[in-house]
Symmetry: C2
Subunit: 159 residues, 2 copies
Amino acid sequence: MVLRNQVEWALHCCSILAAMPDQEVSTRDLAAFHGVPKEYLSKALQALSRAGLVEGSLGKTGGYRLARKPEAITFLDIVQAVEGKRRSFECSEIRQNNPCLPEDFKVKGVCAVARVMYDADEAWRAHLRSVTLADLGKNLQRDVPVEILADSRQWFVRT
Amino acid sequence: MVLRNQVEWALHCCSILAAMPDQEVSTRDLAAFHGVPKEYLSKALQALSRAGLVEGSLGKTGGYRLARKPEAITFLDIVQAVEGKRRSFECSEIRQNNPCLPEDFKVKGVCAVARVMYDADEAWRAHLRSVTLADLGKNLQRDVPVEILADSRQWFVRT
DNA sequence: GGTATTTTACTCGGATAGTCTATGTCCGAGTGAGTCTGG
DNA sequence: CCAGACTCACTCGGACATAGACTATCCGAGTAAAATACC
């Protein structure tokens, strides 16, 4: 029940992309900056691309850029792109096995246990949906010294 | 990022135990009622026992009963007992790898990305914490016909 | 009939095995920009 | 000088390998109640 580390990588990479709106950033640079294996990080970026959150371009000067404005991309978008949209709880309807149920009797509605779990899952999603990449950028400006933010952005600038 | 099916089993079993306060229920009966493998279900019940949510007794007439009143056991208790207490997001501090950080410079505080994920996790936990086994029992009484509830309870009564 | 022994049915825990998922590596095909070559 | 060929660095996708987690299954030790044996 733990998210895969690709989710963390994808969030940090999107944070970078949001800070570099004027150019594309290559997988190689993103991987080197974060110290993670390039080939594997590539999987996460491909997932973001499939979900339409980032756009990749091919060729020598290729790389990724955000497909939408940072205000229009939420944490939930990114998490779901990488992790999938399955709910954290899957009801296997074991209540239907109850030997006391009459023949051909189907319990109707959502299982009472599952309903609680689904609501909890929705609370989790609602919070992720409420935070955008733009919000994340603002928080970073508050937490990180300005010169480090500037240096980091400069690190990605194409010479 | 999906909870294991033992969580579902544990929740349903606790629901049964809450409905049978006057006797102990054996793993065998719980497994047969739900149509799941007895030996494996036993692992989930052992986890509940280790967490102090249920009490098992040995011997021929042994079985489990709730260790506390249904009002005092939340969904979160059960989920954490089976699934563990790890958060759904684990920050590996990849921000510390930033090549622009000065030597021996430690970014302070919780990573901005992690903070959002932690808050979402807490929203999930808060909802699970807000629902008790007693609440679940009330919902079942509303959803399931009375005679089926009575038959099911009778199914577990020791002869 | 009462006590001691045996049987039975359960819990608990460890050992084991198969399958699935997550993690990570490797490689080839396709692409586009810059570079080189030939006229 | 300019058009076409070439090279390079990148994306994309699939194939593959490994480790760990999940899903079981099995068995032995311990325990308590019931059944049985024995005096």
